[in-house]
């Protein structure tokens, strides 16, 4: 395998991560839109999604439904959708108890409250999940689907695994589906209206509280799905993976411009590509890739202080 092949391989891995970052960042940007709050607990909702997925997998294998065969894909689909649903409902719960009550107050207090929520979720998983402080093996769910094949194919020395391809495909499909929902449905219109001006939207008959609930359902469900995808990608989940998820998701949302869903998607891929390229082209880059990615982020904000697609900020006089 030549060095070029290695570089292509790293970039493909970057794409794989990019789709996950984008999914988390979409949540950040949606919440910021409707409530004007940076919801730092979103990263830990993502972690919670991975653990809910793990619990569901355990339940289904206890029931003997994970044995493979024709219905296997259906069971997988069921696990994915159940996980998204449960995480989404949990997301609404968190919004009701901790995020919305503080969102009308000073922004710093809201920031602090969501950080507190993040800590509480993380600690609750560590304490109440059996052996929660250790990292957990995430079962390779997708392998049985490709049982008869060689699990991967090779182009010019670049190894592409089918399961990674599937992770990427699911991520892209969900992103497309979400953007269609936001842009084409009535509820999506409501979300955009509240994001633009919540008071005017309420005067036009938009039920703001319901819109906020639906937004948190969607955002948290996406985070839950990302949790499963992340578990499948790394084969391991751990209770404190949400902290990094939150920082990277927030960074991606900011790179794209807060409040803009396409910006969040672009931002996710930009962040992942920065990591991948620094790992590929800079000596000892794989150790410093996060340092470089954050450095690039800071420098980027010097030249584009409101992100790629963000609105130009107006100074009020």
């Amino acid at each position: 395998m030549g060095t070029e092949a290695v570089i292509v391989q790293i970039i493909l891995n970057g794409l794989m991560l990019g789709v996950q970052y984008a999914l988390i960042a979409v949540g950040f940007t949606l919440f910021f839109g409707v409530l004007d709050v940076i919801n730092f607990s979103h990263g830990d909702v993502f972690m919670l999604g991975a653990f809910i997925g793990l619990i569901l997998i355990n339940i289904f294998s206890k029931l003997g439904m994970m044995t493979g065969g024709a219905s296997y894909v259906f069971v997988l689909f069921l696990i994915f959708s159940l996980c998204m649903l449960v995480t989404g409902l949990v997301g609404i719960l968190f919004e009701r108890i901790a995020v919305k009550p503080v969102s009308s107050g000073p922004p710093l207090m809201a920031l602090l409250a969501t950080l507190g929520l993040a800590i509480a979720i993380r600690e609750a998983v560590r304490l109440f999940y059996p052996m929660g402080s250790e990292s957990k093996r995430f079962p390779e769910l997708l392998n049985p689907i490709f049982a008869g094949t060689s699990h991967a194919f090779e182009i010019e020395g670049v190894l592409i695994r089918y399961d990674n391809l599937l992770i990427f495909g699911i991520g892209i499909a969900v992103i497309v589906f979400t953007s269609l929902y936001i842009n084409k449905t009535k509820m999506g219109l409501g979300i955009r209206a509240v994001a633009q001006d919540s008071e005017a939207a309420m005067m036009m008959g938009v039920h703001r509280d319901r819109v906020v609930d639906v937004t948190f359902l969607i955002g948290s469900a996406l985070a839950g799905l990302t949790g499963i995808l992340n578990g499948l990608f790394y084969n391991t989940v751990v209770f404190n993976m949400g902290a990094m998820g939150a920082v990277i998701g927030f960074s991606a949302a900011v790179i794209g411009g807060l409040g803009n869903i396409y910006g969040a998607i672009i931002g996710g891929f930009v962040f992942a590509m920065t990591q991948a390229l620094s790992a590929a082209f800079i000596p000892r880059g794989s150790e410093y890739m996060d340092v470089i990615a954050f450095g690039v982020l800071i420098v980027f904000l010097v030249f584009k202080p409101s992100g790629i697609l963000g609105e130009k900020m107006h100074e009020r006089v």
């Binding site: 710093l108 929520l117 600690e123 900011v254 150790e287 996060d290 954050f294």
Partner: protein
């Protein structure tokens, strides 16, 4: 103007402060959780009652507000006497001495952040990074080059200020959430860089940083049979007093007023001719010097630092102290810091759930006290003039 010395006032103030001082000692000694909870409820009840009947106690509280010099003087004497008294009073004396030193370091950090966040509105989520920069600077200088402590401690502040100047370039270009992200990313960057660089010891960190030594006096000697932490206690106390003094000088001068205008409305401040970029930078860097020096003291005292000490959780801890204490209220920040750093130590009985409870508190307090436990008071000018007119 010659001040009349009022014996009754002096003895009232001294008696009350000594009583509180001994109550704190008792608090340190309590080991049963239920006694502790009952005591805390009692204290809260007394405070609430006193607030409700402010009128009746006005002649009593008036003594304290009229004679601040005596209040501070007696407090200082008690703080100076603490290491001499505590071995006879407190069972786990060394442990609590260490906790008090740690609290002192947190007070310096919180006051540094208060100048940035409270006075000027520059949100710094990289407090721990600057703390770490100060600590690693002092540690590396002392360990690798053998430079004496009288240079390493100020160098901790200077290097933190240099990093602050570099970070200020992206910081003044951005606003609000974007500004928060710049500092957040910087904090992660520093920790990840320290974690991966061999020169700074990687994830293991720096071990065996030499103790402080001034003019041949090693801080490991035991003054009069007391524990050697006593040296560090006085040393930290000195820097805490310095930080409090600097904070008050900032707050009470036209500089503090300038910073407050920038915090409240930057555009209006600019319209009035305030060069907001320069003043934001000055406040950011002043805060970082204080934070860096705190890091240097910590590194010398503990003798072992690793990137783990300076993670984002640590920044969050300090931000919580400042916001919960009350932005731009120096006394509030100090009280908030003391509560948040000493209470968790008492909660060690319930070690497992400590952080969970801490997280839940962070959710609950903003709901009920959206502007902190001790919201800041607007500046009152000419209060001395008013008194003369009375």
């Amino acid at each position: 103007m010659k001040r009349n010395f009022n014996f009754i006032n002096f003895f009232t103030i001294a008696a009350v402060e000594v009583a509180i001082f001994f109550l704190v000692m008792v608090f340190f000694n309590i080991e049963s959780v239920w006694t502790l909870v009952a005591g805390l409820i009692l204290v809260v009840a007394v405070v609430v009652y006193a607030k409700a009947c402010k009128r009746q106690f006005s002649s009593f509280t008036g003594i304290f507000s009229s004679d601040k010099r005596t209040v501070m003087g007696v407090l200082l004497v008690l703080l100076l006497l603490y290491p001499l008294i505590s071995p006879h009073m407190i069972r786990q004396n060394t442990y609590w001495l260490l906790i008090l030193i740690q609290t002192g370091i947190y007070i310096i950090l919180a006051l540094g952040l208060n100048i940035q966040l409270g006075s000027t509105g520059v949100l710094n989520l990289a407090v721990a990074a600057f703390y770490g920069i100060g600590g690693y600077t002092a540690g590396l200088l002392a360990l690798r080059l053998g430079i004496p402590a009288i240079i390493t401690i100020p160098m901790g502040g200077i290097v933190a200020a240099l990093f602050g100047m570099i970070l200020y370039v992206p910081l003044y270009k951005t606003k609000g959430h974007y500004m928060a992200l710049v500092t957040l990313a910087f904090g992660y960057m520093i920790v990840l860089a320290l974690d991966n660089t061999e020169f700074t010891g990687g994830p293991q960190g720096l071990m065996g940083i030499p103790e402080l030594k001034f003019f041949g006096y090693s801080f490991l000697t035991k003054p009069g049979g007391l524990h050697f932490y006593t040296n560090y206690y006085y040393f930290t106390l000195f820097f805490v007093l310095l930080a409090v003094l600097i904070s008050y000088r900032f707050y009470n001068s036209w500089v503090g007023l300038t910073l407050a205008t920038i915090r409240d409305d930057e555009v209006a401040a600019k319209c009035c001719g305030v060069n907001s970029n320069i003043w934001k930078g000055i406040s950011f860097i002043t805060g970082n010097v204080m934070i860096g020096i705190a890091g240097a003291i910590y590194a010398h005292m503990i003798g072992f630092i690793s990137p783990h000490n300076f993670s984002f959780a640590e920044s969050l801890f300090v931000v919580a102290m400042v916001i919960l204490g009350g932005l731009d209220n120096i006394l509030g920040v100090i009280i908030g810091t003391i509560i948040l750093s000493i209470l968790p130590e008492k909660m060690r009985v319930i070690t497992e759930y400590r952080i969970l409870i801490y997280g839940i508190l962070l959710i609950v307090i903003p709901m009920f006290r959206p502007s902190g436990l001790f919201p800041f008071n607007p500046r009152r000018y000419h209060s001395s003039v008013a008194k003369v007119n009375d």
